[in-house]
């Protein structure tokens, strides 16, 4: 039992950043813009957030510092995504190419700036943001151990973002308009919706969330930031596809991916998994095989937004 609780609690470290970034991707793709720059945006967001923490963490309350860092990471991600938005919406460029450009640019930029400012490329920080225990709530059986012990406020932020995303996309006028621009922008335009504005909104929200996701990813993982998020931006794209572009399914996918990755990397410390004798590879490949299977079965009537990846051209019929 203790082991299961440990695994579930560790799962959060993998699942929460995946969830936040995949939801970011969701906003962008639902508005009709493919955002494969998620990886690069994560790097930029993490970089700016960690830089703030690096300089400010000794002089302010840790949780306040973290909240400001999260906002900075989000805004930095949003500004960075603006390049992708302008290229793919305004200039009607190929969205895959401009996304790739951002992915290549981001780590180089971070290394350059870090060296310019402090001579070394690693930005160091101390993890003072972990909350050991939240009183009362932590005594709830099971859930208390998973969510309210040894946790970060980012865990709750992730869940909050999930709920808000679902609400915005499915319960507001804005959400309906955004989704319509990803399905049939010509129809949306004829109904008086400004497709360009909607797509800018979708892409920028995705930049905001991916930037936050980058910071959330780095905090519990290392003691410094080295311009790298280990491919989790691309993994978030897989989560988005596995989740079939729907918020709750994305949450399910993120936790499934996270749990499988947790088992794959933690199994050597847990007697139960050692005694099962299943090779480590099995856990490592499971999420990817599952994604392939899902794609194979639903590819005929894929839930992907219909107009995704196509620049909107008013004159086109």
């Amino acid at each position: 039992m203790d082991d299961i609780l440990f695994l579930l609690s560790q799962t959060m470290i993998f699942a929460i950043p995946l969830l936040i970034v995949a939801l970011g991707g969701l906003f962008s793709e639902r508005s009709g813009v493919i955002n494969i720059a998620l990886e690069g945006i994560m790097v930029i967001g993490a970089f700016c957030g960690i830089f703030f923490i690096h300089f400010m963490q000794d002089s302010m309350n840790p949780q306040l510092c973290l909240i400001i860092a999260i906002l900075i990471a989000g805004v930095a991600g949003m500004i960075f995504t603006l390049f992708h938005a302008i290229a793919s919406i305004h200039l009607k460029a190929d969205q895959t190419i401009s996304g790739t450009a951002l992915n290549i640019f981001a780590p180089a930029f971070c290394i350059f700036v870090a060296r310019l400012i402090q001579q070394t490329q690693q930005v160091e920080f101390t993890d003072v943001f972990r909350i050991k225990e939240i009183p009362i709530l932590s005594s709830i059986p099971i859930i208390g151990d998973i969510l309210f012990k040894n946790t970060y406020i980012t865990t709750f932020l992730g869940i909050l973002i999930l709920i808000i995303s679902w609400f915005i996309l499915y319960k507001t006028k804005f959400g309906l308009r955004l989704r319509s621009c990803g399905e049939l922008p010509q129809a949306a335009d004829s109904a008086g919706i400004n497709v360009y504005k909607m797509r800018y909104a979708g892409t920028l929200i995705s930049g905001f969330l991916a930037g936050i996701g980058g910071l959330v990813f780095v905090l519990p993982t290392s003691t410094n930031f080295n311009a790298d998020v280990a491919g989790y931006g691309f993994l978030a794209l897989a989560v988005l596809i596995f989740g079939q572009w729907k918020p709750w399914r994305i949450a399910g996918a993120a936790f499934f991916f996270g749990f499988m990755k947790t088992i794959a990397s933690a199994y050597s410390g847990i007697d139960f998994f050692l005694s099962l004798g299943i090779p480590n590879y099995f856990y490592k490949i499971t999420p990817y095989i599952a994604t392939l299977l899902v794609l194979a079965f639903v590819s005929k009537n894929s839930a992907a937004p219909k107009a995704e990846g196509e620049p909107y051209d008013k004159g086109k019929r």
Partner: protein, 375 residues
């Protein structure tokens, strides 16, 4: 459409302009990059807190003290061809001494040492050879020197100290199974075994290569699960891998201990108990001193350690490896204990196997340490 093209054109011109401008200022400040001593980095950077940095610090220290110009080149890619190109570039920039850290440079130095016979080459962590897997031809010309370290001795000290300190469940997380990492790991096992025999206790050890030199949630999670399973000290042996181990140690309950690698890593986290280091900077400094004093050219003089045409190995005998006892946070393992075990290594009373023993960790036979290899 026309407008877009025009703006794109303007943008690209601007970018090109900027690029050119940058280069110009760079060139003037560094005098076209010309220098007497030029270091070429391998996969890492000169601030990687590992052996590229250690090497660069050695170059910097010697050059500043003796008023020599120095610089470094970062190859475009970590391939033999790019390494060779970088050597050509260094020579063009006037290098009289080229310093290269990492065994990846072996084939490049092997090829270029004859072409540039009036340039001196210092190769750290390797001996020049043609890189042939099955039947390698090695040759170190009189204008080159290959320097290796006995990482196994450094690892041995770390393992010995950890067990003497009271840790009976240990972990080893290496980056990739490359010679230096394997030697550290093998020494660690043997050191732990020696201490366990002295104390008459049983020790268990998880042994794992993460497959990369990166900080990832996977590494952090593996370390976290090890700490949870009762392991109290983990040797994080491979660049940023150690940072993820530190992150896990900070969160563990009770707080875990970490053993750093290559250089003293005490400043990176308070969980760092000690570091298995090698004195890269000293070795580079000594080699440069030998070159400039002329000793390097006395290739037949046995008394000179750093001389041309030699493949040398530095270890405890040269005080080139060890643990930084001043910054270590040991409570039971004292300086006296350290000096005693260090002396046994210096005197050659213990033989420590290194990566040449074989690729599979099971070649290291132990009596008291149960090694649990994890794929």
């Amino acid at each position: 459409m026309k407008k877009m093209f025009a703006s794109l054109l303007a943008l690209s011109l601007m970018l090109v302009g900027c690029g050119g401008g940058d280069k110009k200022t760079d060139d003037t400040t560094k005098k076209d990059g010309n220098a007497e001593i030029i270091m070429i980095t391998d996969k890492g950077t000169i601030d990687d807190k590992s052996f590229n940095q250690g090497t660069y610090e050695g170059v910097e220290a010697y050059a500043k003290k003796n008023n020599k110009t120095f610089n470094y080149i970062k190859p475009v890619a970590a391939t033999d061809d790019e390494y060779k190109n970088s050597i050509d570039q260094a020579v063009k920039q006037g290098a009289k001494v080229i310093v290269t850290p990492g065994y990846l440079f072996e084939p490049a130095i092997y090829a270029k040492q004859t072409e540039y016979s009036d340039v001196k080459f210092i190769l750290i962590d390797g001996y020049p050879n043609d890189g042939n897997q099955e039947n390698p031809k090695s040759n170190t010309e009189n204008n080159a020197i290959g320097i290796k370290f006995q990482e196994e001795q450094s690892g041995y000290l770390a393992g010995y100290a950890a067990v003497k300190e009271g840790h009976t469940k240990l972990g080893f997380m290496g980056g990739m199974a490359v010679p230096a990492v394997m030697s550290f790991g093998y020494g660690y096992i043997q050191g732990a075994d020696a201490a366990a025999k002295e104390l008459g206790i049983d020790v268990s050890m998880n042994y794992h290569y993460t497959g990369d030199f990166k900080a990832t949630p996977e590494v952090q999670n593996t370390a976290a699960s090890w700490y949870k399973s009762g392991i109290t000290a983990i040797f994080g042996c491979g660049g940023a891998v150690g940072n993820s181990v530190m992150a896990a140690a900070e969160k563990a309950d009770p707080v875990g201990a970490v053993i750093g690698v290559d250089v003293d890593q005490a400043t990176e986290s308070k969980t760092v108990m000690t570091s298995a280091y090698k004195q890269l900077a000293n070795a580079v400094n000594d080699a440069l001193a030998s070159i400039y004093s002329g000793d390097f050219d006395k290739v037949d003089d046995d008394k000179i350690l750093f001389r041309g045409g030699q493949n040398i190995v530095l270890g405890a005998a040269n005080n080139a490896i060890g643990l930084p006892m001043d910054t270590s946070t040991f409570k039971k393992f004292t300086k006296a204990d350290y000096d005693k075990v260090y002396k046994t290594i210096q005197d050659g009373k213990v033989t420590i196997k290194n990566s040449t023993a074989g690729e599979d960790v099971s070649v290291i036979k132990t009596e008291k340490v149960k090694v649990n290899f994890i794929k």
